[in-house]
Symmetry: C2
Subunit: 284 residues, 2 copies
């Protein structure tokens, strides 16, 4: 029998997900974290930061389409977009699909992640050289604190709330995001698993409401390589309700925006399918 190489993420100390590895493409350490890029049998190339799955070639379309399009299709005319985190480039790739978008400011802390994904995961990083994309190597928390710009949409493509990412889940950060949005601006953030992080989702919901967003809505989907596979995003909006968007307008725009997961039904479906226990928790 041939020697087998596996990578396991321990979602908790009692729950693990393992992928069989074809090839170790990179393993090393940046200023901020340990980085691995593995080629796996079932999920293609996989980016791992500090032993945690960030993205895989096989399922990344679910995550990247759903962190981007609900906000971008809710806003009638997003021109200026800020993306915080997501060094693999998948979120930026989705954002620039929108013709209305004139500029994407893309703030990523770890330049090494960016460079490695440019080299090893071109299907995600393919828009890094797009002239609309303005790459800023720096801390997203500091960026929104000091920023004088106003954006139409801000997407927070953050890792789990540990280490330098903790501040991306704190009260102050959401106040600054609110400040950096136009009067009809919208933000979206990945907000972990409803099965494992219900308290966190509730906390974020409260912070966003307190920051002044009139509409705050969680939405859910499946991300196979994330803890429990059951995943939540939270959208916060100053003016437009994602459930009020005209389906036909989404359909019309989608003619020029290729997607695999998102369409005008999914736009509504992901919000409506938020489980009762999650909605109950937010009502408390």
């Amino acid at each position: 029998m041939k020697c087998q190489l596996w990578f396991s993420e321990y979602h908790t100390k009692n729950f693990a997900l393992s992928l069989r590895v074809k090839d170790v493409l990179f393993t090393g350490k940046s200023k901020y974290q340990e980085i691995q890029i593995l080629d796996t049998y079932d999920f293609g190339k996989v980016l791992i930061l500090d032993n945690t799955f960030q993205t895989t070639e096989r399922d990344e379309f679910i995550y990247h389409e759903l962190i981007s399009h609900p906000a971008l299709f809710t806003h009638p005319n997003p021109k200026k977009v800020l993306v915080i985190g997501g060094g693999d480039g998948g979120t930026v790739r989705e954002v620039v699909k929108h013709e209305s978008v004139e500029r994407v400011d893309f703030v990523e802390l770890d330049e090494m992640v960016l460079e490695l994904c440019k080299k090893y995961m071109p299907s995600l990083s393919c828009e890094m050289d797009n002239e609309k994309v303005n790459i800023i190597i720096g801390d997203g928390i500091k960026y929104v604190a000091e920023c004088d710009e106003k954006y139409d949409v801000i997407i927070v493509d953050c890792p789990d709330p540990v280490g330098p990412a903790v501040g991306l889940f704190e009260k102050e950060f959401y106040k600054n995001v609110f400040k950096c949005l136009n009067d009809d601006g919208i933000m979206t953030q990945q907000t972990e698993s409803p099965l494992y992080n219900l308290d966190l989702i509730k906390k974020i919901y409260t912070y966003l409401k307190d920051a002044g967003f009139s509409i705050v809505k969680p939405y859910v989907c499946s991300i196979p390589t994330y803890p429990s596979g059951f995943w939540c995003f939270t959208l916060a909006s100053k003016k437009y309700d994602p459930l009020d968007v005209d389906e036909n307008k989404i359909k019309e725009k989608l003619k020029n925006i290729p997607t695999k997961y998102y369409d005008e039904e999914v736009h509504k479906g992901v919000f409506l399918s938020s489980p009762k226990f999650l909605k109950d928790e937010l009502k408390k």
Copy 2:
């Protein structure tokens, strides 16, 4: 360091999910399959058949509410229900929550699963002694082939399509299910993962259409312990469209039906959130 016991399901030969085990409550073999009941740290008690996760105390509510309620709330007055498979009892537990239901015929092949779940997983098997529930130990495929009864709703709570369950995914079976339903009858089946079993979902869709169902709709959710965690059910209906059901009627009925996952929004949301690539495949 204390000795650690883990159970791993190999979803494929290159993809595994592992849970740390507190206690092995039962391990043995019935006429049909290997059965294990394990007490795990993260997911409570877990039923495993032929090395495959069937249900866990922690996440079973998602599966059992979603295999049952979309059909039962789409039918305006379900009285007679047939449940095929699901020896743990979770589906039957959800079905009898509906006041209109007068009788549940529950056909399970493996009596040993039923007995073990009665003993070890009472939160699932709690309605096995309900007087409305008529337990039939036997083969569901044969049952619908020979049955003269007519049901309002049929739920096929089947395992993966291997071994004796293969016939629960075949043309002949769906024709017989159609035959056993009233003129406004509805059936639901768990139909595996859109990421791993797209061809199978497409095949089932075609078989159900060919059997005569005018409305056939897949719907999706997350089941953490199933392969990829991204799961699909398919609902097939002779008359009523699940998307046409009045939300207020669902809300009214839910006053007497305790749920953790399902509500009138989830009812629509799970259908609408079917990914584009799945809908595209069914249109081909």
